[in-house]
Each structure stands twice: as C-alpha cells, then as structure tokens.
C-alpha cells in the first residue's frame, strides 16, 4: 500500500461533513496574511498608484493627451483617476506577479517545508486541502486588487481635487457612481486573476520547489499576453486567459457594456474547471514524500 492511499482515506471519510472545511479555510487565510511576504507584496502594489500620483503632482507640465497610459492626463484634474491608472498599469505585470507567487506557493511551498504530510495527516483530505488552498489564493486576488484601488483613491483624494468623473463615452458621473464603478473594476480584475490562480495551483502540485512553480506561473502569464498581441494568432486569442484582462474599460462606458465582463467570467470559469481538474488528478494520485 502506498502512502497516497493512506492519506486518501480521510478524504472519503470526511466528505459527508463539509462544515469542517471552514476552520481549515480560516486558518489557511490567517497563515497567508500573517506572512510578512504577503504584506510586502500588498504594500508594493499599493505603492504603484502612490508613485503615479506623486509623479503627476511633482511635474508641472501636463502630459499631452493620448500619451502614456490611458486616463493619465486626467489625473491632475480628478484624483479618482489615480485608481484607474494604477489598476491599468498593474494588470499586465504586477498583479500576475504577486498572484503567481501566492498560487505557486500553495502546494509546493508546503511540500518543500515538509508540512504537507502533516496537513494531510490532519483530518482534512486532499480534495478539501486543494479547494481551501485555491480559495485562499482567491482571497489574496481580492486583497491585491483592492489594495491598488483603495491606495489610488486615497492618494488621489489627498493630492488632487475630486469631482464628477468623465467616462470614455464623454458623459460625466457623480463621485458616488464613480466609486461603484471602481469597485466593479476591482471585481472584474479579481475575476480576471482567478484563471491564473488555478494554473498556479496546478503547477504547484507538480513540483516540490515553490520558486519553480511561481516562476512558471508568472512566465505563463507573460507568454499568454505576448501571444495575445500577435495578430497572426487571432483564432487563439479568445481562448487565452489574459485576453480580457484590459477589457475593464467597458465598465467606464455609458451605459455599462457587460459583454466583456460576461465573456471574461465564462473564460476564467473554464480555466478554473480545467486546471482544477488537472490539479485534482495530480494531487490525489501523487505520492507525498515530504
């Protein structure tokens, strides 16, 4: 009998008692947020909008329209745009970077520090552990996106005037409405990162070296974006998990265009199911030696 069978037994035994997953999830989240690394990543994400706001505040010349990231030229007139610019800048690299670190660490991190064995001896079961690890990563996605959005709104309010926000359609909305839109954008970006989290979770089950899993996840996010920019591969584009990452601009139109939100959610669900199934196949049949 292999070790995998020994540890697979509690899995079936505890499936009938789903309530036990919640304390495990709570402890997993508290472990994640007690790590200094997690806070360092959230702080550096929050630093991005702060740097943008300071750069705009300290330079007197207004950037010419149409240069630099979208919305940048509006920051000096309306502080609420700091959030939008911050999110826009972090979506291609910084957010996938931090999510890759957390998702790549999920299983491989425990395996490398030798704690995976003890997690499985405790009455948790492999499937449940996998789900809990994934949910904790999803919670980090929410925290990462919100830290950019909130830091951007705060520094924007501190340094610049606040007023009605001009949408891409040319219409203006009140401050209250614009906060709702910011939260919608944060939700959109969180959803965008869920597919990458699932990929990271799967890669993490493949190896005992967490750095390898993190690097592979981050490289994949870059590869996906490079492929998305090649017009020769346009048949592939709707299937790439990064295809709708910058589609959150549709939430800044009047009326809101929900098309890309829906397509994005559907695509990310597909990635979660595919890579969740792969991670399940790999993790429940793996021999845990450390």
């Amino acid at each position: 009998m292999s070790r995998s069978e020994v540890s697979a037994l509690p899995d079936t035994a505890f499936r009938s008692r789903p309530a036990l997953g919640l304390p495990l999830l709570a402890s997993e989240i508290s472990v994640l947020f007690r790590r200094r690394r997690t806070w360092a990543m959230l702080a550096s994400l929050a630093l991005i909008p702060v740097l943008i706001a300071l750069a705009v505040r300290l330079t007197s010349s207004r950037p010419p329209s149409g240069r630099g990231p979208a919305f940048l030229d509006q920051v000096s007139q309306n502080g609420l745009f700091v959030s939008f610019v911050g999110l826009l800048v972090s979506v291609p690299l910084f957010l996938p970077l931090t999510v890759g670190v957390v998702a790549g660490d999920t299983i491989a991190g425990e395996a490398s520090s030798g704690t995976l064995r003890y997690l499985l001896i405790a009455p948790a079961g492999r499937t449940r552990l996998l789900i809990v690890k994934y949910l904790a990563t999803a919670v980090f996605c929410v925290a990462a996106t919100l830290s950019v959005a909130i830091a951007g709104a705060l520094i924007g309010a501190a340094l610049f005037p606040i007023g009605p926000v001009t949408l891409l359609s040319g219409d203006s909305i009140a401050v209250g409405d614009s906060i709702v839109r910011s939260l919608l954008i944060a939700a959109y970006i969180t959803v965008s990162l869920l597919g990458l989290s699932a990929i990271g979770l799967f890669i993490s089950t493949m190896t005992d070296v967490p750095v390898g899993a993190m690097a592979t996840t981050i490289v994949l996010s870059v590869v996906s974006q490079v492929l998305d920019s090649l017009p020769q591969l346009d048949w592939l584009h709707p299937w790439l998990f990064s295809h709708y990452w910058l589609g959150f601009a549709d939430l800044l139109r009047q009326p809101i265009s929900w098309d890309s939100f829906g397509s994005n959610a559907l695509l990310q669900c597909g990635y979660i199911v595919v890579f969740g199934a792969l991670a399940f196949g790999r993790f429940t049949t793996k021999d845990i030696l450390s």
Partner: protein
C-alpha cells in the same frame, strides 16, 4: 503475490478515476464550443418567400427605435495601420476600414441617434439630437459640435463613423436594378433573430465584387447584417452586422450630450459639400461617371476643388507610400473591393473594377 497484484490493480483504477475529470472537462468544453455555433444556424426555417417579397419586406421596414451592438470586420487587403504614434491621426479615417471594430448604436426616431465606436481603453462617440451633432473622441479629448442645415434622416451618412448594417443595406438596395441578380440563400440567425438571406450578384463580369449578402429580419424587414464578397473569395472582404439587437426605445439621457470638462470643444460650420476626396457631391469641375451599375468608374478631373486638395494632402501624408503602389501612369490604392487610381496629372479614378480597366479609362481621356 496475488494480493499485491490486486492492490496494484485497485491503485491503477483509482488513479485513472482521479484523472478522469482532467480528461472529461476539456472534452466537454470543446464539444460545447463546437456545438453552440452549429446550433445557432440550425433549425431556421422561415415561410418561403420570393426574392421580390424579401426586397419589399426590406423596403417596408418601419423600425423607429433600436439599441444594439454591431461588429465590423474588414479584410480589404490594406496594411495594418498604426493606431498610436505620429501617424495615428492621419490613419484614423482609414483605420475604421481595417481590422475589426465593435460599436454600439442607439436610435430613437429619425432625429435621435448615438453611435459609440468601442476602442481599446477609448471610445469615439457620435451623438445626434435633431440637427445638433456632437462628435467626441475620448483619446484626443476633443468634442466637435456641428449643426446640420437640413433635418437628417436615419439613413443619412455619419461621416467618419462606422455605418450601421441598415444604412449600408439601404445604399446597396438602392442600386438594385437590371444589372443585378437577386436571389435568396438559406435562412440565417443574426443577433438571435431569424432572417432571410438576400444575395445580390452583379451581372457584370468586370467588377471586383463577387456578391453581397444582406440578412433581412423576418419580422421587421430591418437589415441585420451585410457581407461583401470579393470575386472568388470564400470569406467576406467586408462585413458589418448586429451581434445584439433590442428594438425597445433607448434611454432618453443617451441623446443628451454635454462636452466634459477638460475637453477641447470646436465649432464646425455647416458644410456646403462633403469633402470626401474620392467622391465630392457638388464641385466646380464635376466628376464624371462612365458605365452603369457595378462596374461604373468615377473620374474626378485634375484641379477639381476638394478632390484635388484631398489628393495633394494625401500625397504629402507619410501613409501615402505605405498605402499605394506605383503603377504605370500614377499611383494605385488597391483593396479587394475598390481600386482608386491617382494619375500623375492629378486625376482620380475609382471603381470596383480591375486596375487595367481604370488605366484604360484614364488613357482614353
């Protein structure tokens, strides 16, 4: 020995079961991805009509209000145009003719209209209320206001913007005459509505246009999509169609436009004529049209006001070299549907005909 074999066998089957979802899920997703587009066009079986009845249905179209999303795809054989950098403004007019674009359209009656071209992280808007027209560009932060001298109709041109399927179809259906064969293809489903597939085929053999398909909504007669096929091409060279359509009256606030703070507002005086370089309406030296129907050639004489100015400004543009090819007697702007021949002596000849025919027409003058 036997017992360990059994255990191994059990272990193997357990392993297989664990990997089963990883195999089944992609298969399931792939089959759904294949089945959904197939199901979309299956089972459309409308009452039989003659081509003339469908033409009458389209002519009797009385849709007053709609909101919808239109997608436009062109593969006219033009090079990809720069959308950023110094060339961007020069290319913006032609940019709408390359690649793919998505736009939202809101219409309420014949005087209220809004077209939004949805660009990446940007938007171009056209808002029309009565004779007031606003053009807003979010990337350039410009708002252009103009007042139309006469009350426009819904099918009137929206210059510099995407034309909607019904506008394009109206232009095409106007030209249905003895030079065109009208037939019906198999029924379609466009934007979740059933439609008759009207196919216009030019009788002339010397035109670049192979055929035109217009999807006519079976209930209202509204053209839902237009596809232009170049001769001997399977995929359309140009297509525009609704991907979403709602015939309810859009929210009235959509047609009220106030230029946002910080936008550069310019006032444009009503124009006497259209300044399109290729086909000016009224000019001192009038363009001549030779031939009729699909293989007609429009010739604009040298020094003809706006057209000449257009061609001069065109030649000084850095894009000119990228877009045109040098041929005997001038420069050629070539697409799979239309050729434009700019002669060295300043004349412009355009038509949906092969290059040789344009050159022959130029030499005949």
């Amino acid at each position: 020995m036997c017992a360990t074999d059994d255990a191994k066998g059990l272990n193997m089957s357990r392993t297989l079961v664990r990997w089963l979802p990883a195999v089944m899920v992609p298969v399931l997703i792939a089959s759904v991805a294949v089945a959904v587009p197939l199901a979309a066009n299956a089972g459309v079986n409308l009452p039989t009509k003659t081509p003339a009845q469908v033409l009458a249905l389209a002519a009797g179209e009385k849709v007053v209000a709609l909101s919808g999303t239109i997608s436009q795809t062109s593969s006219l054989g033009l090079p990809e145009l720069p959308t950023t950098g110094a060339d961007a403004s020069a290319g913006s007019a032609l940019e709408l003719l390359t690649g793919s674009h998505t736009a939202r359209v809101f219409v309420d009656g014949s005087t209220k209209q809004r077209v939004q071209v949805l660009d990446r992280m940007a938007e171009r808007d056209l808002v029309r209320t009565g004779s007031e027209v606003w053009l807003y560009d979010s990337k350039k932060k410009t708002a252009v206001h103009s007042t139309l001298s006469e009350r426009p109709t819904r099918s009137s041109e929206t210059e510099g913007m995407i034309s909607t399927p019904d506008q394009l179809a109206a232009t095409l259906l106007k030209s249905v005459d003895a030079t065109t064969t009208v037939s019906l293809g198999s029924d379609l489903r466009v934007a979740e509505r059933t439609a008759y597939n009207l196919v216009l085929t030019p009788k002339a053999s010397e035109t670049l246009i192979g055929s035109v398909s217009i999807a006519v909504d079976s209930q209202t007669g509204l053209p839902l999509s237009v596809e232009l096929f170049a001769r001997s091409q399977k995929t359309p060279a140009f297509s525009v169609g609704f991907s979403k359509l709602d015939l309810a009256t859009p929210d009235a606030s959509l047609f009220v436009f106030t230029p946002p703070a910080g936008a550069k507002v310019t006032e444009k005086t009503p124009k006497v004529d259209s300044s399109r370089p290729a086909v000016p309406r009224s000019d001192a030296a009038k363009p001549t049209v030779s031939g009729t129907g699909w293989d007609a050639i429009v010739a604009i004489p040298a020094g003809a006001g706006a057209a000449a100015k257009g061609s001069i400004s065109l030649k000084s543009s850095p894009l000119f070299g990228k877009l045109t090819t040098s041929v005997t007697g001038g420069h050629l702007f070539q697409t799979s549907l239309v050729n434009v021949f700019l002669t060295d002596d300043g004349r412009v000849l355009a038509g949906s005909v092969p290059v040789a025919k344009l050159q022959a027409a130029a030499a005949a003058k």
